[in-house]
Symmetry: C2
Subunit: 177 residues, 2 copies
């Protein structure tokens, strides 16, 4: 089966969408590594790199994870889901920064996935205790998000002409608000 690779950056950016239904194709170890490597390279405040990534492909665990938040149902059918882990910060001012930096790492991973034709959708984790127990996450850390991955079950990724977003001239202010 042909693998889609080598999408131009602007095509990956325009093709990325939240994908919550997946077909049966597994994600190869090589593809997973490319996705995780993109996250690893993300910038962070003082190069803290606060993230850890737990990679889950076991179907039973994916099904358990899908109950960790009402918007995590799609995780059950994903080919792989990455548990995004952050430290409980040593100083509260890092709590916001770590979230911001984790957002950067997440976006790098979703675009690396899109480049491979792989869809993604993140979900928050409501039940922290369930996540800690299932994956032996130490008390020093928590699981803010899950990033589900899989080949789209609803048609391949392709550039989206009219995304469901605020208009550019509404969000962009030239020189001043």
């Amino acid at each position: 089966m042909a693998t889609i690779t080598g999408m131009e950056t602007s095509d990956a950016i325009r093709s990325r969408r939240n994908v919550r239904t997946y077909d049966e194709r597994p994600i190869t170890g090589e593809s997973l590594e490319l996705i995780l490597e993109a996250g690893r390279r993300a910038p962070s405040a003082s190069n803290r790199q606060p993230w850890d990534f737990v990679v889950v492909t076991d179907r039973q665990k994916l099904e358990q994870m899908s109950n960790m938040w009402r918007n995590a149902r799609h995780v059950a059918g994903s080919a792989a889901t990455i548990v995004l882990v952050l430290p409980e910060p040593e100083d509260d001012r890092y709590r916001l920064m770590d979230q911001y930096d984790l957002g950067q790492a997440t976006m790098a991973m979703t675009l690396a996935a899109a480049d491979l034709g792989i869809g993604s959708a993140h979900a928050a984790v409501g039940d922290q205790e369930a996540c800690r127990v299932l994956f032996a996450i130490p008390e020093s850390h928590y699981c803010p998000y899950l990033l589900a991955l899989g080949y789209p079950g609803d048609g391949p990724l392709a550039p989206i002409e009219r995304p469901d977003r605020r208009a550019l001239d509404e969000i962009v202010h030239l020189g001043r608000w």
Copy 2:
């Protein structure tokens, strides 16, 4: 002058680095729009799209902005800097989510910039009042970050073989922590 365009996604991901010295080349309006468009398309919780972007190219203002935080010096020499603006959330649980989603939008913009050969480096904003006054930001909003942009003054972007990051097998956990 030749413009670098059309980098493959994985090359953009591997070439992106924090660039804090810039040459004299301005960024065209077309390139700025591609960068901002990438941010616009980022995903966010419940598709809130909490961000606003104030684009600054005025040299005097860029110099003033460089004093808004000790790690914002590089903004003074940037070709353009985007003030990343978030709302003061209506509910405190959105404060972390909005930071995470802004991180996603930021990474999309830095990769879109890298695709064009444009370097970037973000900086936190310490002096919120100075930022609000300079850009007429309403009291309902604040300025968590600046994203400085410019063509690198220290050599073009190129894939980095050994980034200064934690090893992949240190941050990735298979199946469990």
